[in-house]
């Protein structure tokens, strides 16, 4: 295969490659998805840019936490301040995938992959995007909901920004096997309790049960002002099921996925109740 390969040494260099070559350029983070497609002969890109040397890796803290786009999943799985992000990263693929795959690439993966969006939504993450001429920071929620065609082809994901975590969080992923398995459903929750033990703020994110990972906002609203008890948990589970919009694939039917939303919202909230 003959392809032009670009390995920029800085973000600016990367952005100028993007600007020059535009639509025909394949951007690679860790390449764990793209290389599989290339090796299977599914497509042959003419131009490839690897972000591996563009200086976009690393976790920084100043006021908030910033995770560079090419930070490997293995490193994300060691970020102790955001335990469910670390947990979700650890549950992705196997060691080889985690050593190569990046957080940035993960956020571009179509469902049922893209597990990291679930804990990141629970932590109110924002993403920083840049092109040669401009940069913008938007909420992850908005980013995920943007139709792909709207995303600038001249844009790169530069970093993920996280506010300091508050409250308690839990994350569970259901796969058909123990490792290297696409999600049937992934649930991330984070709740902040007031002094009376009532929920003052809640995030409930769902993955693999819609065309992108999303927050189940009705279920979140139902939790506000409640304590975590059998009834409030069952209600939130029920509402989250109704809010999800699952699909059928080779791993699970939509019917099953919807039911598992109920089971896993219940299980994550029960973990928090303990």
């Amino acid at each position: 295969m003959n392809a032009d390969l670009f390995i920029p040494r800085s973000l600016d260099e990367a952005l100028s490659v993007v600007q020059t070559h535009g639509a025909g350029l394949l951007v690679m983070g860790g390449g764990t998805m793209m290389m599989a497609h290339i090796n299977e002969g599914i497509f042959f890109p003419q131009k490839v840019m690897s972000l591996a040397r563009a200086g976009l890796s690393g976790v920084y803290r100043n006021g908030h936490t910033q995770i560079g786009a090419t930070t490997h999943l293995t490193d994300v799985s060691q970020i102790a301040d955001y335990p469910i992000l670390a947990e979700a990263a650890f549950q992705i693929g196997g060691p080889a995938i985690r050593n190569m795959g990046t957080i940035g690439g993960n956020l571009y993966m179509p469902q049922p992959a893209g597990d990291l969006a679930v804990p990141l939504l629970a932590y109110d993450a924002h993403v920083e995007l840049a092109s040669a001429s401009a940069s913008r920071t938007i909420s992850l929620e908005d980013f995920l909901a943007e139709p792909r065609s709207h995303r600038g082809v001249h844009e790169l994901l530069v970093a993920v920004h996280l506010p300091d975590p508050t409250g308690y969080a839990a994350y569970l992923k259901l796969g058909r096997r123990e490792a290297n398995t696409p999600s049937v459903v992934a649930v991330g929750v984070r709740v902040v309790m007031d002094k009376q033990g009532q929920i003052s703020d809640a995030r409930l994110a769902l993955g693999a049960v819609g065309s992108f990972a999303f927050r189940a906002k009705n279920a979140e609203a139902a939790l506000i002002g409640q304590s975590l008890n059998t009834k409030s948990i069952a209600d939130a589970a029920q509402i989250a099921m109704e809010e999800s919009n699952p699909f059928t694939d080779a791993l699970a039917t939509a019917w099953y996925r919807r039911r598992m939303v109920g089971v896993f919202v219940k299980r994550t909230l029960e973990q928090l109740a303990k």
């Binding site: 058909r176 096997r177 490792a179 398995t181 099921m241 080779a250 598992m260």
Partner: protein, 744 residues
Amino acid sequence: MSDNNQMPAIGVSMKRIDAFGKVTGQTPYPSDLNMDGQLWMKMRFSDRVHARVVSIDTRRAEAYPGVVRIFTARDVPVNEYGLVMKDQPVICGPGSTILGADVVRCLADVVAVVVADTEENAAAAAPLIDIEYQDLPTVFDPEDAMQDGAPLLHHDKPNNIIVHYKIRKGEMSEGWAKSDVILEGEFSTGYQEHAYLQPEAGLGYIDEQGRVTVVVAGQWVHEDQEQIYHALNLPPDQVRVIYPAIGGAFGGREDMSVQIVLALAAWKLGRPVKIIWSREESILYHHKRHPVKIRAKWGATRDGKLVAAEATVIGDAGAYNYTTNKVMGNAHLMVTGPYEIPYVQVDTYGVYTNNIMTGAFRGFGGPQGAFAAEGMMNRLAEALGLDPVDFRLRNVIHEGSIMTTGTPPPPGVTIQQTIEAGAIESGAWSHNGQGWQKSITQQPRESYKRRGIGFACGFKNIGYSFGFPEQNWATIELRGAGVIEEVTVRAAGADVGQGAHTIFVQMTAEAVGVPVEKVRLIGHDTAETQTSGSSSASRMTFMTGNAIRGAAELALKKWQDEERPAIATYQYRPPATTTLDKETGYGTPNFAYGYVVEVAEVEVDLETGMVNLVRVTCANDVGKVLNRILVEGQVEGAVVQAQGYAIMEHLVSKEGRVLNPFLSTYLIPTVYDIPVEVKSVLLENPIPIGPWGARGMAEMPFIPLAPAIASAIHDATGIWFDHLPFIPDRIVEGLREHGLGAIV
């Protein structure tokens, strides 16, 4: 034969002779081989499930850079192949030598073959071939395919029925009248993909003696050779097939994939030609395990004696026979289990559809038959209030029992001993004066999880059945002067990864009476060996062992007569088998059986429907353990493969199209999913015709696992699940119907 102070070569866990090369990556597999001036091949498969190929226009593809040649149906001298029935065109399209070869009958049919200078160019050119199809009516459900007026796939098979086997033993109305309890059941089983490590690949070339040569991975070099010379209309000795290391097979390499087209291209072009299938191509274009539907009705007396059994078994062959008629024959024999049943009526069908072809896969119809047979046995035990072990022991066959085919089983019937050993060694059953008792299963802490333990048994033939010619050749050469310095054994049996070559060396050393270090093996190459038959039907150790013993005896005699080198060739033929009578099923279908028992412990998550296989005990009468570590490897491998079959593996096919042809969506168990313990209980009751008493054993541990798991799930939940695979969607649905685990 061995002198007294020499270590025996068999019965020891000898390290595999291929281990070092394989674990260090030095051993070449077919895709690792390259030759100077080699070209690359890409196959263009059918775009339609059933259609007449009206025309093929190769001009655009031929104009693509690097394209050397495009082969179509017109280029194949005798355009047909097939292991048992030559019912499949090598390449489908107009201008063929064979009637009906212009029709594609499934998506795995080949329409053209592109040869180019590089793999990329061949791949890019293949879609540029313009094919005009005329669609034909389709049929995907074998029961629909059997109806009058259904679309016909092959003109010589009315109602698409490839085979219809019968058993008619006793007058059924009498049997039902004598039964106190009668149960009916409906079972179905799914596809299974072989998922061997090494996707299909090969290299075709003309060797130094001008022979059309194909280096490939298969299960029977001489059969591949036969398929090639038949299609190319060449004299047999003008075709040579060589296997380097083989990356797994499990039955999936019994039929042709790249062999004939590689030979065709190398022959016509006079240049080396190579192909490697991607994983997707491998899953889409080689056959699968048969999905089977079984309706069963069994009757027993109140005191636990089986009286009558009736079954209808329908297997989906897909578009071509492959080994369907043999696989369904096995299902036919095994659907009533290793039991004495006075009244039996079975009808078994193998049926063409426009689905992907189905064929050989470890167990060869046995797993499907056993799923229904053991399912019925476990339900009957429950209905009769009998312990399942106890109930089986009242009904198993013994020496001289009359089987459903009206004849006794071959000598060496040890299902009773195997059941007793499996039950005891599992720790779940005990025997006291009163009879068999199952211990109480420890339940997990979580309220939504339940554990259960289940039991099933089975049997499986060793070697070919139903009169299929069964033979195996070995040659032994002894060199040296006063003492034997070097022994060469020629044996073609395929080492598909199971360790056959190691066992051949061990058996040769033992038969000749030399240390294993003195033995050199010349293996699968048609130019160097005579036929061994396939590595299938749990037969290779048994068959080659007997051939080696025969050859060693003759060679040693020549050695004693001072011949140097002393060379002898021996053909082993086991006792003859017969086909079954068309109307009654009477016959002697097999010459040897192995017996097996499995006890499975599962944990069911009542909310998610996930079934975790925790522990398996497998008791298997192998006759003689020739190499313990290899035998245990087969048990563990079979258990994990059967676990995937029962719980996890779900090939989704819609209107003839496989929707998940990737290992990321067709999931097989990984090391994290397998049981924490697989306990191999190896019984050594020799059979008289086995080499050192050995029986075959590699398929047996696959056979009863799915019904043992079904029984364990029932123990945990009280519900019978009758449709494989036990994917969580189905489990949750079943649990909800019974008001269990329900969250809305």
